[in-house]
Each structure stands twice: as structure tokens, then as C-alpha cells.
């Protein structure tokens, strides 16, 4: 298999020029995530309204191309969506990484779909799945207000 299936242009781009990499203004939730074995660290900031819409989302942190790209892509996709929809996207995203299944969410545009799919190459690299999911788990923790740092080492 070609390593380029993992490091697609779109991922390299997000890895090098991550979107929403800052502390977004007016955030009302946040959480930290940590992968102690590789040192990846993510801090997710969230502005979520009463109706549970994700008004704004951003992140800070450091890590490999996969984890940064995944965080960047996540913020792009989740921003403006309802929390429930976001949760469904995460669920399907995890299935994609674990079982290789396709995404099937109406509320994703073709473009969004394609962007998400660019991470599907991770499936063949089991040791990197944790990198790809760290931001997402941290997002859920932020939204649900759990205090404990997400720790992918379990």
C-alpha cells in the first residue's frame, strides 16, 4: 500500500495549515486531551448555545500530522452544527476508522464528506487511530463538561 493513502494532500494541508487553531472568542466549554505515549496534546474550545448548537469551535495543541489534521478538519466540519449531529458524525467517523465503513450523514455536504474521508487511510495504521480520534474525544468531553483529561492510553 502506498503511504500516500495515509498522507493525502488534504491531510498534509490541514496538518501544515490547521484551521481554527486558536482560542476562539467567547468559548464557554473546553477540555484537554492527551496521548501520553506519543505526547500529542490537544485543547479544544467550544462555544455552544442553549439549543446545543456548536456556534464556534477551535483548538490548540501539538502533535503529528494526523492528529493536527484531524483536529483541524473536525473544527471545520462541526462548526455551526447541532451537538447531536456532531455526535452522530463522530460515531460514523469512529466506525470508518475501525471498520472501514462509509459515512452516511445527510447533513454533510459532498465537500465535507470528502474531507472527512481523507482520514479513512488511518484505518490501515492501527497505531495511528488514536492520533486521529484524540481531538474528537476531547470535543465530546468539552461539550459534556467532563473534567478528566481525555487519555487515549488505555
Amino acid at each position: 500500500m502506498d503511504i500516500k493513502e495515509l498522507y493525502q494532500e488534504i491531510i498534509l494541508d490541514h496538518g501544515k495549515n490547521p484551521r481554527n487553531k486558536n482560542k476562539c472568542e467567547g468559548f464557554n466549554k473546553n477540555a484537554k486531551g492527551h496521548n501520553p505515549l506519543c505526547g500529542d496534546k490537544i485543547h479544544v474550545y467550544l462555544k455552544i448555545d442553549k439549543a446545543k448548537n456548536v456556534e464556534d469551535i477551535s483548538f490548540e495543541g501539538e502533535g503529528c500530522a494526523i492528529s493536527i489534521a484531524s483536529a483541524s478538519i473536525m473544527t471545520q466540519i462541526i462548526k455551526g452544527k447541532e451537538f447531536n449531529v456532531a455526535k452522530k458524525i463522530l460515531e460514523q467517523f469512529l466506525n470508518m476508522l475501525k471498520e472501514g465503513s462509509k459515512l452516511s450523514i445527510n447533513s454533510l455536504s459532498d465537500d465535507e464528506n470528502m474531507t472527512m474521508m481523507s482520514l479513512s487511510g488511518v484505518k490501515r495504521f492501527p497505531m495511528r487511530v488514536k492520533c486521529a480520534t484524540l481531538a474528537w474525544h476531547t470535543f465530546i468531553n468539552a461539550a459534556e463538561g467532563q473534567k478528566e483529561t481525555v487519555n487515549t492510553e488505555k
Partner: protein, 405 residues
């Protein structure tokens, strides 16, 4: 159960001992290993080896998967609630030390009581002794009766509002007594006292189910379960692992390391410091498969049959005194012969290829209670047959002859 078929799976039995077929009756000490376990270790080192957890490369991934799959296998085998409750240790002794130290550090204070029994192996006494020393705690010994059992009433009597831990064997490695562990756990949970079970002799010979049993800690010794040396298992309820401090410190068990402080991850990582026994754990997965293939129920009924045949046969020899007569007995027969020291018995038996153990079997308290410094012990496993008992019985007669008793 066809012990011939089973024996054929253990290469050790192809060897001659002093020119004789090996009659291995030292299973309570350690068990022999089937070819599948030996081969799995070789294969692992030959094709899959690397350090686990820490590496991104393919060998590291494979090794980590094989290792963690074994954790799942064990979780299912003992019906733990979650894989986080399975911690790999060096041996059962370390498993008990881990609990005694971490629980003792946090929850045992001056004047608190630790309740154990007179049947305990040193592995389930010495670690508590250390806590007694460090914390000024008290160890109470539930008395063993003349049948070699500990009555639950003796435990009940000793429980006080100072009791902070009940630590008991599942199956005595001397008298073979099977303790009423479920009842003890129920009794203890009423009073919110945690229970540790030394399952060294339980796990290889009895069906064990952590969720049904409900104990807080259960210690297992893999080498007594037809598995490799160098691995033990601590089962611990997650609620404990969440609150107890770490045990040994080192690589792998940390979260964030700064010069002035260190934070730790959750179980099992928190309790597994340094490079683990990768090959041994992976090898052990084949032991579990082996036991499951034979079937723990078949093992139990087979060993019961051998035990009963053995008891009957050996009782016929009037010079032999069997230690204990528990109602509920595992496949262990400890005995003495009038006028012959157990060491001499073991030596004479060994000449016939019969491997038994002589000594106090790491149970000095019990032997003192019995008024003997040592005993001889025959303990049976999956591969033992009635013929093995016959050989044992004949060899015991030879002891009488050599010593003219």
C-alpha cells in the same frame, strides 16, 4: 477425559526421570506446559517480537495487539466486568504485594485489623505483615479446624469495626480445603470490608467468575495454570484501581512528568511499569485456550475422580496419615508417614520418577498448628491419571520398606 491424549500434549512426559516414566504430582507448586504454549512463545520471539505499547512500527503494533488480546481473553475467562480490571504482575505474590502496599498505604491505619486465616500461604501473609509493621496494624488469624478447613463462623467472630481487609485463600495448598469464598464476600460486603482472594490454587482447578463472586481482588499465578513462568494476574474491581495509588514507578505508567510533579493514567497502565512480560503473556493465551478446550467442568470432574481414587487408595496404607479432611476438597493430598520424614519420602519417590513436594509448602503457620515441621504433598492436575495414583501408592509402600516401618 483421556489423560493419555492430554499427557501427549505435554512434552515433559517424554522424558525419563531416573530411568522411569515421570509421574508429576507437584502441580500445586507449578504445572507443566503444553506444546502449544511452548510453541507460541517461540513463534512470538521468532516472528512477532518487539516491545509493546511504545512503538509505532508494525512489529510493535502486532506485539501490542497480541498482548492486549490476552488481557481480553483473561477478562472473559474469569468474567471480569472490564479489561481495565486485569493487571499483569510478575507472579501472584506480586499481585498480593501490590494490593497490600497500595491499599495499605491509603486505607490502613494504626490499630486497624487485617483478617487472614491459618491456612494462608506466606504470599498472603508476609505482605500484610509489612503493612502491620509500617502502619501499626493488627493481623488476626481465623482458626483452622481439625479437618483443615476454616469455618466461616471463625471469620465472622473476628470481624470488627476495625477490620479493613479480609484476605483469604480460595483453596488451601496444603489441606486442599475449598473456602466458602462467595459466602465470605457476601458477609464482608454487608460490612463494606474489601476481600482479597488468593486464587493461586483456585484459578487452575475451579470455575471462577469475578462478577458472580463479587470479590474486590483476586490473585492468579499463571505458571500453575499450564502457563509460562514470570506472569501473574491481579484482578481488581475498577473502583479500587481508580482510587488506589500507583505501585511501582517507571516508563509506561505515567501521564505527565514534570520536575516537581508526576501524574498517572488509569488502570491497567497505572499499574504496569516498565517493559512487561510480553512473550510470557502472549504464551499464556494458549494456556487459557488449552484449559477452555478441555473445559473447566471436565477438569473439575476429572480431578475430583483422581482425588477420590487417591484418597481411597492411600488411606489403605495404615502408616500414612492424610492431613485434613475438608468437606469441599481440591485435588491436593498432603500426608505424613509414621517414622519417615517428608524429605526422605520425596527422595524415595523421586527414585521412581514420582515428583511430589516435601516441606512446609510456604505455610509455616498451618504446619505449626498441625504440630509438624513438614509434610509430603501430592497435587494433581489435568494430565494425572489413576495409574499415576497407583505408582504413587506403590512408591509410598517402598518408603515403608526402605525404612522398615
Amino acid at each position: 477425559m483421556d489423560t493419555k491424549v492430554i499427557k501427549s500434549k505435554f512434552p515433559i512426559f517424554k522424558n525419563k526421570i531416573n530411568g522411569k516414566q515421570l509421574t508429576y504430582l507437584d502441580n500445586a507448586n507449578s504445572s507443566q506446559k503444553p506444546q502449544s504454549v511452548i510453541d507460541r512463545i517461540s513463534k512470538f520471539y521468532s516472528n512477532e517480537f518487539s516491545n509493546i505499547g511504545r512503538s509505532v512500527h508494525s512489529l510493535g503494533v502486532t506485539a501490542t495487539n497480541r498482548f492486549e488480546e490476552t488481557r481480553d481473553l483473561i477478562k472473559n475467562f474469569i468474567n471480569a466486568k472490564s479489561r481495565e480490571e486485569i493487571i499483569f504482575t510478575k507472579n501472584a505474590t506480586e499481585a498480593i504485594n501490590l494490593v497490600a502496599f497500595t491499599y495499605g498505604e491509603k486505607f490502613i491505619n494504626k490499630g486497624d485489623e487485617i483478617l487472614i486465616t491459618e491456612l494462608e500461604h506466606h504470599a498472603n501473609y508476609v505482605p500484610w505483615h509489612f503493612i502491620r509493621k509500617r502502619k501499626g496494624a493488627i493481623i488476626k488469624f481465623a482458626e483452622c479446624n481439625e479437618k483443615g478447613e476454616v469455618d466461616i463462623d471463625k471469620i465472622k467472630e473476628l470481624i470488627s469495626n476495625k477490620t479493613k481487609m479480609i484476605a483469604i485463600t480460595h483453596l488451601s495448598n496444603v489441606t486442599g480445603a475449598i473456602m466458602p469464598v462467595k459466602k465470605i464476600v457476601d458477609l464482608a460486603s454487608e460490612k463494606k470490608i474489601p476481600v482479597l482472594i488468593d486464587g493461586c490454587q483456585g484459578a487452575p482447578h475451579l470455575k471462577i467468575d469475578m462478577q458472580e463472586l463479587g470479590c474486590d481482588f483476586y490473585a492468579i499465578s499463571c505458571h500453575k495454570m499450564y502457563g509460562p513462568t514470570g506472569v501473574g494476574i491481579l484482578y481488581a474491581k475498577k473502583k479500587w484501581l481508580d482510587v488506589l495509588p500507583p505501585y511501582q514507578g517507571g516508563g509506561g505508567m505515567i501521564e505527565d512528568v514534570k520536575k516537581n510533579n508526576i501524574t498517572f493514567p488509569r488502570s491497567p497502565t497505572k499499574y504496569e511499569a516498565g517493559t512487561l512480560q510480553t512473550a510470557e503473556v502472549v504464551g499464556f493465551s494458549e494456556s487459557i485456550k488449552f484449559i477452555k478446550d478441555v473445559g473447566i467442568k471436565n477438569i473439575m470432574s476429572h480431578e475430583k475422580e483422581i482425588l477420590e481414587y487417591g484418597l481411597e487408595k492411600i488411606k489403605k496404607n495404615n502408616s500414612v496419615k492424610i492431613i485434613g479432611d475438608p468437606k469441599n476438597r481440591g485435588s491436593i493430598i498432603s500426608f505424613t508417614i509414621k517414622g519417615i520424614h517428608p524429605h526422605d519420602i520425596a527422595t524415595i519417590l523421586d527414585e521412581d520418577g514420582v515428583a511430589i513436594r516435601a516441606g512446609h509448602h510456604c505455610c509455616q503457620i498451618l504446619h505449626e498448628k498441625l504440630g509438624i515441621p513438614a509434610s509430603a504433598r501430592a497435587s494433581f492436575g489435568i494430565y494425572n491419571s489413576k495409574e499415576d495414583i497407583d505408582v504413587l501408592s506403590d512408591s509410598i509402600k517402598k518408603c515403608n520398606k526402605v525404612f522398615n516401618t
